[in-house]
């Protein structure tokens, strides 16, 4: 061919080398795609990712102590926390000076309540001291050691001072230790006494109940998905409505329905009593405990299990089962060795989805769980709105988030985020 004589790169119509021209076109395409995505990405980053990052930051942030007690923090550095004695006069003078400023700005109570999370009783010490210190003249009224101890005996307790020293850094792992049922003792981190380990119990319960909910969803969803995938399309579409209607119905509607049905005087107990299966005076306790949470949440999350299972089972060729049977397999063998392995992707996708959704659930456990059936998320909400210990709420949230992200990563590996389907 004559072309072989021509050396050098292939040229595009306008004279630039084809390779560069193509690269430029590709770059343009990429930039255009990114330009289309950019507004949304920015929006999500600002309204969603940044708040999450802020929460992660709050779980270690402790600037309130060093910012407002700067002199005390410096003075305490030379004090040996394990000496068993209270710090010297210099520290008390520094505290008096710090507290005077803090009390005038009315933030001494906030420092007090921050330290109170670590050692109960400090809050009132700070409140009382703040009131008195305002009237003192730091230059003239010393020495302060005796005066502080007169305001509150706690100021003479080395433990109180150790707590202040321990939590004097800008960052702390104290919230995380708390969230893991640990505390800072004289020799570093140690476990809390057995009877105070509430968060570990709560995490264990959340995991266990999510697992029970996931398993009961698998058990209930498998037959339904099978029958939907094997019925003629018209009938299957009709039955699909029964799955999609709960899916589209408001979560609160379904929770209130369960609240109505599960009560002592509720529909289920009334029917059982009427049928004579349960005596009138021993009605089943179905609500405000774990049973209630599990029943209601299984119902609420069941569509999330059925839909992915159904979409996988639709693709399984029914002739494989018949082939297995014609080769001599019994019903059970054919099902166990031929059908189940092919439906595993659906089970996996549904299980991870249901598990992720259930370990973060808040509304349903709050309304039907009572005290025994609540999840870790209810505790997070309690710390945000009632006990106002935001740092601990953030630390608990961070741990929960880490678990969920791990599962999300697994979901992405098994199913792929792109393959999420709705309805």
């Amino acid at each position: 061919m004559s072309d072989t004589t021509q050396t050098g790169p292939v040229l595009a119509a306008d004279g630039t080398p084809l390779k560069r021209s193509l690269a430029r076109a590709l770059r343009m395409q990429k930039i255009r795609a990114l330009m289309l995505i950019a507004p949304l990405l920015l929006f999500v980053l600002l309204t969603f990712i940044l708040p999450i990052a802020d929460m992660l930051f709050r779980s270690v942030e402790n600037s309130i102590v060093p910012d407002n007690l700067p002199r005390t923090v410096v003075a305490l550095q030379d004090w040996d926390a394990n000496s068993g004695e209270i710090p010297d006069e210099a520290v008390f003078t520094a505290l008096a000076a710090d507290l005077k400023i803090a009390a005038e700005a009315k933030i001494h109570t906030r420092i007090g309540s921050r330290l109170n999370y670590e050692k109960p009783g400090i809050s009132s010490l700070f409140r009382k001291a703040g009131r008195r210190v305002k009237k003192w003249d730091i230059e003239a009224d010393g020495p302060f050691t005796e005066q502080f101890i007169k305001i509150g005996k706690g100021w003479g307790d080395p433990e109180v001072w150790r707590t202040i020293k321990t939590y004097s850094g800008t960052y702390t792992n104290g919230y995380f230790l708390n969230a893991a049922d640990m505390q800072k003792g004289p020799d570093g981190a140690e476990w809390r006494p057995e009877n105070e380990q509430i968060y570990f119990t709560l995490f264990k319960r959340t995991m266990f109940m999510s697992l029970v909910i996931t398993v009961s969803c698998i058990v209930l969803a498998y037959p339904v998905a099978w029958i939907l995938a094997n019925l003629p399309a018209r009938t299957a579409n009709l039955l699909m409505i029964l799955v999609l209607l709960p899916f589209w119905t408001s979560l609160l509607v379904r929770t209130s329905a369960w609240k109505v049905m599960l009560q002592q005087q509720g529909v289920i107990n009334e029917v059982l009593v009427w049928l004579g299966l349960v005596a009138d005076d021993s009605r089943l306790q179905l609500i405000n405990n774990q049973t209630g949470t599990i029943i209601a949440m299984t119902h609420i999350l069941l569509p999330f299990m059925i839909l992915p299972m159904y979409s996988v089972m639709q693709t399984i060729n029914p002739t494989y089962l018949r082939a297995a049977k014609s080769l001599g397999a019994t019903n059970w063998t054919a099902f166990w060795w031929v059908y189940i392995p092919q439906s595993v992707p659906g089970i996996g996708a549904g299980s991870i989805l249901v598990f992720i959704l259930s370990i973060g659930y808040y509304i349903t456990p709050e309304l039907v769980g009572g005290t025994k059936g609540v999840f870790i998320s209810n505790r997070i909400a309690f710390h945000i709105s009632t006990s106002l210990n935001w740092g601990l709420a953030a630390a608990l949230g961070t741990i929960l988030l880490a678990v969920v992200l791990l599962l999300y990563w697994a979901y992405d590996k098994i199913v792929g985020i792109d393959n999420v389907k709705l309805g």
Partner: protein, 391 residues
């Protein structure tokens, strides 16, 4: 269509199976009346006799079924009034159908001929199991509806309701919903927040979905992971983070704050539905439009938009329902001025349990039926349209 040629069953077989089912139902009716054993006995004898006798008269099926239906209805009415009459009618219809279904072997006709009796039995047992799971799925929603018409302030069926006495029913909970100021405020807030959040998430989401479905997108997986994350991160964590952050920048407790938060939560749904529609989108159509001289904007609005519109609308409906149903985030990010309908229901359920909630629930169920129907219609429409476009 029949797969298997069938002939009528013997009276003994029909009678025996019918007696078994009669015993099963008799157990419940019997225990309800005081004696389970007597119930089993009466049920078994009654249905067994019916099955045995009727097995030979399959040629007169229609009139006989009507007769059984009428007989059971009358027996129910005589024994326990209207409610028992309805139960009797249902049971009569079932008994008539069941006996003839057995007697004519209709149950066998559409199953493969090589199945053993055990497999046939399992086939129907399996259907009954599936049926009960469907009942489990739908019952809570069905129970709420009649209870919302309760004339009493109870959360359970009163004897008047069970007797179908008109005095047991009333619209007072609905009246309460439409006249109570707090409920109306909540409704108004929901109506103000949800559409705004939907507009935001559909606007940004559609653009981004078009961008994401281009053939060459750098960092596609990472971007997708970020955009989908509001759906995956537990709501309580999103709520906590947004509460902390929005109070820092002064958005906490404002209308704008709630709208932004809800828009962020709705975005994954828009992205998922719109990218799913775009998977089937034929790129040569936009090239053809460009070839004929249309600019990118004209191409988008005249060619691409009409084709992906069903996906955009159903994504929008998902985003709308997300915001309309959302309670955790609004509990934290909102203040009393942004109290939405779900929030009002939540406090209602937690503190003073008022049956007005059931009326609201019924209204919401009706709305969700409407939304479900719309989404389903759009999906079919979109599939038809894509079927038409050349591939």
């Amino acid at each position: 269509m029949a797969l298997t040629p069938v002939e009528n069953q013997t009276p003994a077989f029909t009678g025996a199976v019918a007696a078994a089912s009669g015993a099963f139902f008799g157990l419940f009716v019997g225990t309800a009346q005081g004696s389970g054993f007597l119930g089993i006995l009466i049920g078994a004898v009654l249905l067994g006799a019916l099955g045995f006798v009727l097995a030979g008269m399959t040629d007169k099926e229609k009139p006989l079924r009507w007769a059984i239906f009428a007989g059971f209805t009358a027996a129910g009415l005589l024994m326990g009034g209207l409610a028992a009459g309805v139960v009797g009618a249902l049971f009569g219809w079932f008994a008539g159908w069941f006996v003839f279904w057995l007697a004519t072997s209709r149950y066998r006709a559409h199953l493969a001929p090589y199945l053993t009796p055990g497999q046939v039995l399992w086939h129907y047992t399996f259907r009954v199991i599936c049926g009960s799971i469907f009942v489990f799925l739908i019952t809570p929603i069905l129970v709420v509806m009649p209870l919302s018409f309760n004339a009493q302030d109870f959360f359970t069926f009163t004897p008047e309701m069970l007797r179908f006495d008109p005095a047991g029913y009333s619209l007072k909970h609905y009246q309460d919903f439409f006249t109570s100021e707090s409920w109306q405020d909540a409704l108004w807030n929901s109506v103000r927040i949800a559409p705004m959040a939907t507009v935001l998430s559909v606007g940004f989401g559609t653009l981004a979905a078009i961008g994401l479905s281009q053939p060459h997108v750098p960092f596609r997986r990472a971007i997708m992971a970020i955009l989908i994350s509001p759906m995956i991160v537990p709501l309580i964590i999103s709520a906590a983070g947004m509460y902390f952050f929005y109070s820092r920048i002064g958005l906490q407790g404002t209308y704008m704050g709630v709208v932004l938060a809800h828009a962020a939560l709705g975005i994954p749904f828009v992205i998922i539905t719109v990218t799913a529609t775009l998977v089937g989108f034929d790129r040569s159509l936009t090239r053809a439009a460009a070839n004929m001289g249309a600019g990118p904007v004209t191409t988008f609005f005249r060619v691409q938009m009409p084709l992906i519109l069903p996906g955009v609308i159903s994504g929008g409906l998902f985003a709308f329902i997300t915001s309309f149903d959302e309670v955790v985030v609004v509990l934290f990010v909102g203040s009393a001025g942004q109290k939405t309908l779900p929030w009002q229901m939540f406090t209602g359920l937690r503190e003073q349990i008022s049956p007005t909630i059931l009326a609201v629930a019924t209204i919401l169920v009706v709305i969700s039926i409407g939304l479900l129907a719309t989404v389903e219609m759009l999906r079919r429409h979109s599939e038809r349209m894509r079927g038409m476009s050349p591939t």
